[in-house]
Symmetry: C2
Subunit: 322 residues, 2 copies
């Protein structure tokens, strides 16, 4: 059944060494109010305070750092209109190499300018008539760029796994780790790291109810493709799990909690009002899961990953206004 898993705690530790002094060591935040609401002892890993505002920086940087120098110096390419674009752009700049990002023609100006701000070149495509994979792959082939995938890559996953290393170092032993699931890279890396440190830990994913490809895939034992989900959690819009991430996650995820958009907005509001933290919809999905299914976590020590905070104030205002 699928790929050999090449993701180990050693690979995550190598990523941690590369990221030391480069990525922020984000704080682990606690809140009496949240503990009371959840009926659990909750440790929030605030990756919304990571560089570029999301955990994605870790995987992109580790991937680029792991390339042979001869390949790396030719530059990298990614296709993304989200946090992965900024992650690859910044990671490339820190390595002193070029980054090319393939983005839809109609990407929000704020995302385009943020990516340009990190020194990347942007190639636009028409998402109604063109395929970003084809455009990106052809460009990478012609120019000798290495493609940095958003999740389906062992070094990307190993980078994301450093989130769990830090969380467990700072919070101490945990009974459960609860992480958002999009393509599955964050929970794959974090699950491998957490299980290595704490063999009895339970690994729970949070997925949008409208985008439950991983939940369905785990239930059926093979990767299931779903239509493009309609959810505010735009970082969790994957339509099927990655081949490599699923090879990891099918063995280690104990449960998936599905959350609807209203629960995500409630979690964002709680994080805003009680913790003074700005969290994007996908980033709040694990907190939404905690509050949607408290019986799964009652009385336990739960590490919850807040994966990102990239949301405009106006967009936040619209979500709150409903």
């Amino acid at each position: 059944m699928g790929a050999d898993v090449e993701l180990t705690i050693d690979r995550v530790r190598t990523a941690a060494d590369r990221l030391a002094g480069v990525a922020h060591r984000t704080p682990v935040v606690t809140s009496r109010a949240l503990d009371e609401l959840a009926g659990a002892t909750v440790f929030l890993k605030a990756e919304n305070l990571q560089r570029i505002g999301a955990f994605k920086f870790r995987g992109a940087y580790n991937k680029i750092a792991s390339l042979p120098q001869s390949l790396r110096e030719r530059g990298v390419l990614a296709w993304s209109s989200g946090n992965h674009a900024q992650a690859v752009a910044l990671a490339a700049r820190l390595h002193g190499i070029s980054a090319t990002i393939v983005m839809p023609h109609d990407s929000p100006a704020i995302k385009v300018s943020a990516t340009l701000g990190y020194g990347a070149e942007i190639v636009k495509y028409d998402r109604f008539s063109e395929s970003r994979e084809e455009i990106g792959s052809a460009l990478a082939r012609d120019k000798g760029y290495t493609v940095v995938p958003p999740y389906d890559d062992w070094d990307v996953m190993a980078g994301q796994g450093t989130v769990a290393l830090e969380l467990i170092e700072d919070a101490g032993p945990l009974d459960v780790i609860l992480a958002p699931v999009g393509g599955g890279g964050l929970i794959a890396g974090c699950g491998v790291a957490a299980r290595a440190l704490l063999p009895d830990i339970t690994i729970v994913g949070a997925e949008p109810a409208a985008g439950d490809d991983t939940a369905r895939s785990l239930a059926s034992g093979e990767r299931v493709r779903i239509p493009v989900p309609r959810t505010i959690a735009d970082g969790q819009g994957a339509t099927e799990p990655g081949e490599l991430t699923f090879a990891v996650n099918r063995r280690q995820i104990d449960d998936i909690v599905l959350v609807d958009d209203a629960a995500i907005v409630a979690a964002m509001t709680l994080l805003f009002e009680r913790l003074k933290l700005v969290v994007e919809p996908s980033g709040a999905s694990a907190v939404a899961a905690l509050l949607t299914r408290p019986e799964l976590f009652a009385g336990k020590r739960v590490g919850v990953i807040i994966s990102g905070g990239n949301i405009g104030a106006a967009q936040f205002a619209n979500l709150i206004a409903g």
Copy 2:
């Protein structure tokens, strides 16, 4: 000219000893994006992450801790519908004594419930026909409660001054300290602490343009009373400086920058989008001042105090929507 100043660095250090392990040591946050916008090297002291969500906890706790035990055990009283109410309620609970808070009948439910949540008793009054000072003073006299003033008290000011102690310890030498001004307690305490550590430091206050009582008072050399200001910065609604705070501030404030509501909303938006921090209007006024008058700060190392983060998500959404 007025009161003898009894606020010294030693008194601030005593407050710091009392607050150690009780108040949060809030982080000092930096941002390349903000530095570029301001043309300065900026260190933000994030008191929005303080207990009860604002610096006010420091002064209230220090005041209660400084009372003789025979007085303290009879309980304390304050009048406030804002952060000071929650600060006194929590500080009293931590001392195991009773707190009575005098609040308007029409206070927002969220503030009432937050204050009740800290175990305080609430006495309501009709703000159109009754005086909270009269009701509060009479109640304190009858019951033997000590009144905890929001700013015009040496121990309250000394508590607020610990913000600057920590900021300078963490950021290193500063050229300027820039703090919101309401009643003047925060900048009084911080100014005394900062000048003691860094004799050449410049002390700048940020005041709402509509509520410029301290700016006017400094210009005229005596306390000036203004009408109740119309501004979104509800934590800076004082109509005249305190007697004691003005005795300090007239000697030490070098400049006041006036900020309008639009500049405050812009600063709140910047803090939300770039730093992922939730900041209330008054809390963002010093950042607004930095961006309103950048020529005052160009090339300097500036410590900026973010004084609080208590704003509901819906209220934030309304402000952003304009």
